[in-house]
């Protein structure tokens, strides 16, 4: 039997249409959870908008905005249990916040503080710059979790561009062979810097790649928070039973790749307009309003609260003493080598130039 490319039919899971109206039966999610989910989305967007402003003012360094991807990020992270582990790329501020990383860590990271984004209090790896590498860390983490009988799932967050990296494929292969409690959550935001998804892969979808590795694949409307949350819940359940899952969330990066990028050079504005109409926050808000568990007053209050929280986090970051060069020597090995000690001691303690 000859298998032809893209014979696999992939149907996107969706609960809310573009206007936030239910397309069918609603998944069983409590009102309170729905509201919380939306509040986190507001929080993520507030952080994102502030970070962008602060970067423009030169108060923080390069930042990778997540605007447009809040449903994918918050919806998926909201489904995690405390003991689960997140292996993020550099665009997962929303995910990390929900999973317990203090917000100020992200300001500190973009301000060039040594502290970075890992925290003692949350099961979240530091942000990954090499776009596919974290998939293997999630696989190893899942292995350790299984070995230690932790009942935890490891979730690798990766972008569509990252799925072109060898590490992504090696990770899927390992997951399939060892049946590890791992979920690969791909945010297909259509662009890998300036390269569209059509030039990233010949597959009709990313989710169908799972089939080749003997694991489960699923595609979900990544701008539909309800669909992402519900799908991720199921993915995590399967993973907890040793059935790895590849989730492809179809979403859109409304902003630039990073603050150092200008998407008008490679994308036409019509495309952006189309996706703005499907904005994840608009959809979730319309859904909650229709359910009569949300209103404009609550909305305004929530944005004010979120804004205040972001301000507090930024204040905390600003008031954190800046990293000193002396500190870097202590982070390379568990104990400083003689060479590091000598190099540390070689730093002039006062100005040498007159």
């Amino acid at each position: 039997m000859w298998l032809e490319p893209n014979e696999t039919v992939v149907e996107k899971i969706q609960y809310l249409d573009e206007n936030g109206k239910l397309t069918g039966e609603s998944p069983d999610v409590k009102d309170e959870e729905l509201i919380n989910l939306y509040k986190w989305m507001i929080q993520a967007r507030s952080f994102d908008q502030r970070a962008l402003k602060l970067q423009r003012q030169g108060r923080i360094g390069t930042y990778a905005p997540m605007i447009g991807q809040e449903a994918a990020q918050i919806g998926s992270a909201f489904a995690l249990e405390k003991q689960d582990w997140v292996y993020p790329s550099y665009r997962e501020v929303g995910v990390s916040l929900v999973h317990g990383v203090p917000m100020e860590n992200f300001f500190l990271y973009t301000m060039g503080h040594l502290k970075g984004t890992a925290s003692e209090s949350a099961n979240v790896f530091p942000v990954q710059i090499i776009i596919g590498a974290q998939c293997l860390h999630a696989v190893g983490g899942a292995w350790a979790g299984k070995y230690n009988k932790e009942n935890s799932v490891s979730v690798a967050y990766i972008g569509d561009g990252g799925t072109s990296e060898g590490d992504f494929h090696e990770a899927l292969n390992f997951a399939g062979v060892y049946k590890l409690p791992v979920v690969f959550f791909v945010q297909n935001n259509q662009w890998a810097i300036s390269v569209p998804i059509s030039k990233q892969t010949g597959s009709a979808s990313i989710s169908q790649k799972a089939v080749a590795y003997g694991i489960t694949g699923v595609q979900v409307d990544g701008n539909d928070a309800l669909a992402v949350y519900s799908t991720m819940k199921q993915a995590l359940e399967r993973a907890r039973q040793g059935k790895p899952v590849l989730v492809e969330a179809i979403t859109y990066r409304q902003g630039p790749h990073t603050t150092a990028d200008d998407p008008t050079k490679y994308r036409d504005s019509g495309e952006l307009e189309k996706w703005l109409a499907m904005d994840p926050l608009k959809r979730m808000k319309a859904f909650l309003m229709e359910k009569e568990i949300w209103n404009e007053e609550l909305e305004q209050k929530e944005y004010e609260w979120a804004d205040k929280k972001v301000s507090e986090a930024f204040e905390l970051a600003v008031n954190t003493p800046r990293s000193k060069v002396e500190e870097i020597f202590g982070l390379v090995y568990e104990q400083k080598t003689n060479q590091l000690t000598e190099q540390l001691n070689s730093i002039p303690t006062e100005g040498v130039l007159k």
Binding site: P126, L136, Y178
Partner: protein, 326 residues
Amino acid sequence: MTTMTMIEAINFTLRKEMERDQRVICIGEDIGKNGGVFRATDGLQALFGEERVVDTPIAESAIIGASVGMASRGLRPVAEIQFFGFIYEAMDQMVAQAARLRFRSGGVLQAPMVVRAPFGGGVRTPELHSDSLEGLFLHSPGMKVVMPSNAYDAKGLLTAAIRDNDPVLFLEPMKLYRAFKQEVPEEDYVIEIGKARVLKQGEELTIITWGPSVPLVSKVVEQWEKQTNTTVEIIDVRTISPIDEETILTSVQKTGRAIIVHEAVKTGGPGAEISALINEKALFHLTAPIIRITGFDTPYPVPSVEDEWLPNANRIIQGMKEVFSH
């Protein structure tokens, strides 16, 4: 006390450490039933099961990357890269991930893992099986690079590597796996990583070397001393990262001459680093320029020219004559 070859000592150490600590697991290609292509893990899967001795798909980056994940979550993986030349496939996971995890996480996470790999030439292997690439990792902060030259050291250093909380690259000279037997205590002992061994005292020249070149240098020095009235000190550094500066400098300050012998290619190699170190800290003790006898700046050659390419007795003697000509 019993006698062992180096490969037997490695196998014995892995078994002992796996018995001692449930967190130690072995991961690599053909390491299970087959016991590894050199038998380093022979019998371990039968003893500890498939969960702890993991035969992986052929994927070097995944072996190292998964080890980083395991190590950061409480296991102590000992990964095998079948031949060191295959490490290029895993460079990112070695250098940018394993070696930097402590740094990138601001000290929150660590990767206590060992990557073992056979390396070094003189055994007529196919392409990319004999390369000595230790210099790449000497240049990569966050990783320790250990290269034993005998069975006794292999046991003590591997034990230390497995118990170390930093990633350790443990390079095993293929040529020496079964070259000779040695008395190796079965009892637990550790050789501190970063401490060189003065193999032989001498007064007029220091030869600094490691791994596969150690027995060769010893043999050459033995002949040299019979034919001359000079004595040569030999240092087996055992670890190039971190390097034992004190032992090297103390010796060179005494002898006033230094030769560095390694199989890695010359330019930008570990010998350049050691030479710079002596230059910085012992220049005025020198009576002759420092000489490096190393692999040439070519890819590792085919078997027909391997013996001339590698540091060999002739090349070492020629170097010694040169330092003594000043």
